[in-house]
């Protein structure tokens, strides 16, 4: 079980690192997906190896996949808008508003 958890943790960390460092907005969105996936792995693992009964964890996983997809869709739509507005999707473009 630990291995799964560690895998999830690593995925999570990679995702987090990606969110922080990727320059490309799409890259950021992908990294976010990684983090969601880490959570899904956790759920599924726990469903299998812990006290949990039933399939709740698995169900949770499926829901997360759906929602992550929705989120990604919205994200990509916004990225399109970004492209339209800035002619580029670098994350350092959009910082008009600060302090």
């Amino acid at each position: 079980m630990q291995y799964y958890l560690i895998l999830a943790a690593i995925l999570f960390a990679i995702g987090l690192f990606g969110v922080i460092t990727r320059r490309n907005t799409i890259g950021i969105l992908m990294s976010l997906e990684l983090m969601f996936n880490a959570a899904i792995i956790n759920f599924v693992t726990f469903n299998k190896y812990s006290l949990a009964e039933g399939l709740t964890g698995q169900m949770f996983g499926i829901f997360i996949i759906v929602i992550a997809a929705a989120e990604a869709t919205v994200g990509l739509a916004i990225v399109l808008l970004i492209y339209r507005n800035w002619r580029g999707i670098d994350s350092d473009n959009y910082s008009i508003m600060k302090w």
Binding site: S50, F60, I64, V74, I78, I82, Y94, M97
Partner: protein, 503 residues
């Protein structure tokens, strides 16, 4: 594998279902009328909220889908807030839809309703999956709404920022939830609490590090919604960039949703203070520290803001801090005060934003300095905004004051209840002092409106919906302020919600 069919009680979901269908209908209505509906679609959407509210009243308390869906006092109270917030948001959106969103009114109002549905689900959720879905259903339409001005860089920027940070936080939330699930083996919040208390855990009774990790990750996830520092960074940017009514909705609806999530997870699930099992993992002091951070940061930074939306953004960070004080005080006053505070905040903040939105429609500006001389050209607007700001400051007999009073009362009651709670006094002290600081920047707006001369001040002519929103806000501020008793009664049902048993 036993698969027991739960006792559906779809009836309990009537308000949500009505609203959901109505949201679809709004979009279809707009499409069907070839997008030439004018304000009709907006009124239609408002009607939907009213209908949903009536449905809520009819349905009353109860439960459905086994233990997954509760209509308890907590849920009903917050649903009223959500509906009210959505109602006032739509009311103050007419100007914007007229000027800027000519072609997408349907989507705009529809998404708003969807988001409201999500919040209502969230309020009723008593189980992690429902909770999570409700939360996402709340947030995702808001991403879109924040970026609704497609050609406005600020708005788009607000959208992407909101999305990235929001998704990140929900990733944290999920990660935390997964540990919680792993530890207790259940997604049912009440069961989870029971398991924790009884030590029926995967780790064999030892709570260990896992819970701590979970708590921290969850705090990050929910703190984002609540705009609690250090998870507040998105707030000013998004508030500034998003369409003003959406900002209003974010500041009230989304915050209330965050509160509900907080109550569900932390107060109901990880019941602190009174349960010995939580002793080493008590999240109270930690949240207290965050609340202090929120109050200090929000109030201090707000002082130098030049954009009124941004200023209110920081102020809403500060208010999150005040609310958390109520949350910390886990006595019969605590949750009730949170609810009441939020209820007052609904009227106050929505009213203020309605005015700001209206002002923005007329002038295209949100700069505080453009409000100069408003008291001469439009005394009513200036007076109303003044009243809202004073209510935010907490001047009696306006509702903001009673909210604060109630929250502080709860905190002081806790503080006086035992020697271990002395630190609450310090938090209350910070809260009080920062509320004086708050006066400074609120008064700055008032000062601009009243004391600064402007040769050509803008004359605001109110449209009926904008005016009625302001009036509703004013009535709320005064009515709830002067006669808070029924609302306190209403709110004091919250602590007695399912499973939350007082010591």
């Amino acid at each position: 594998m036993d698969f027991q069919l739960p006792d559906y009680n779809v009836w309990q979901m009537l308000p949500e279902i009505v609203l959901f269908v109505w949201a679809l209908a709004v979009i279809v209505f707009d499409l069907g009328t070839k997008r030439k509906t004018g304000s009709a679609v907006g009124y239609f959407a408002m009607l939907g909220l009213v209908v949903s509210g009536i449905a809520l009243a009819i349905v009353g308390h109860g439960r459905g889908f086994g233990n997954m869906f509760f209509n308890d006092s907590l849920a009903v109270f917050f649903k009223v807030i959500f509906l009210g917030a959505a109602f006032m948001t739509i009311g103050s959106s007419f100007g914007i839809t007229k000027e800027k969103i000519v072609n997408h009114r349907g989507e705009y109002f529809g998404l708003l309703l969807f988001s409201t549905v999500g919040m209502m689900f969230l309020a009723s959720a008593s189980e992690l999956i429902t909770l999570y879905i409700g939360l996402e259903l709340t947030t995702i339409p808001l991403f879109v709404l924040a970026a609704f001005f497609k050609d406005d860089k600020k708005s788009v920027e607000a959208g992407i920022k909101y999305l990235v940070v929001g998704a990140l936080s929900s990733a944290f939330l999920l990660y935390g939830l997964s540990f919680l699930y792993g530890l207790t083996g259940t997604t049912d919040i009440l069961q989870m609490r029971f398991n924790l208390a009884a030590g029926q855990l995967s780790t064999g009774g030892d709570i260990g590090v896992i819970l701590i990790v979970a708590i921290i990750a969850l705090l990050a996830g929910v703190g984002f919604k609540l705009a609690l520092p250090p998870f507040h960074q998105w707030v000013p940017d998004v508030y500034e960039g998003a369409p003003t009514p959406i900002t209003a909705f974010l500041s009230v609806g989304s915050k209330a949703a965050g509160l509900v999530a907080f109550i569900k997870i932390f107060v109901l699930g990880l019941y602190a203070y009174y349960e010995p099992f939580m002793a080493p993992n008590d999240w109270g002091m930690l949240t207290g520290a965050l609340a202090v951070g929120a109050m200090i940061l929000g109030n201090v930074v707000a002082i130098r803001q030049k954009n009124i939306k941004r200023m209110l953004a920081y102020s809403s960070i500060a208010h999150a801090g005040y609310i958390m004080i109520g949350m910390l005080s886990m006595n019969e006053l605590g949750l009730a005060s949170v609810g009441f505070y939020m209820f007052g905040y609904l009227f106050t903040n929505m009213g203020a934003f309605a005015l700001i939105a209206h002002f923005e429609d007329k002038t295209g500006s949100c700069e505080i300095k453009d409000y100069a001389g408003l008291s001469k050209s439009s005394p009513f607007a200036a007076m109303s905004l003044t009243i809202f700001l004073l209510s935010l400051t907490g001047i009696p007999p306006l509702v903001g004051f009673f909210g604060k009073y109630y929250v502080f009362a709860a905190a002081i009651k806790l503080a006086g209840s035992g020697p271990g709670y002395d630190w609450i006094y310090w938090i209350v002290g910070v809260a009080l002092i920062t509320s004086v600081i708050a006066l400074y920047y609120y008064a700055n707006v008032i000062r601009t409106m009243y004391f600064i001369k402007n040769d050509a001040p803008v004359k605001l002519v109110f449209s009926a919906p904008a005016l009625s929103m302001v009036v509703i806000g004013l009535i709320g501020v005064f009515l709830v302020g002067l006669n808070p008793e029924p609302f306190i009664q209403f709110a004091s049902g919250i602590p007695f919600t399912a499973g939350f048993i007082l010591p």
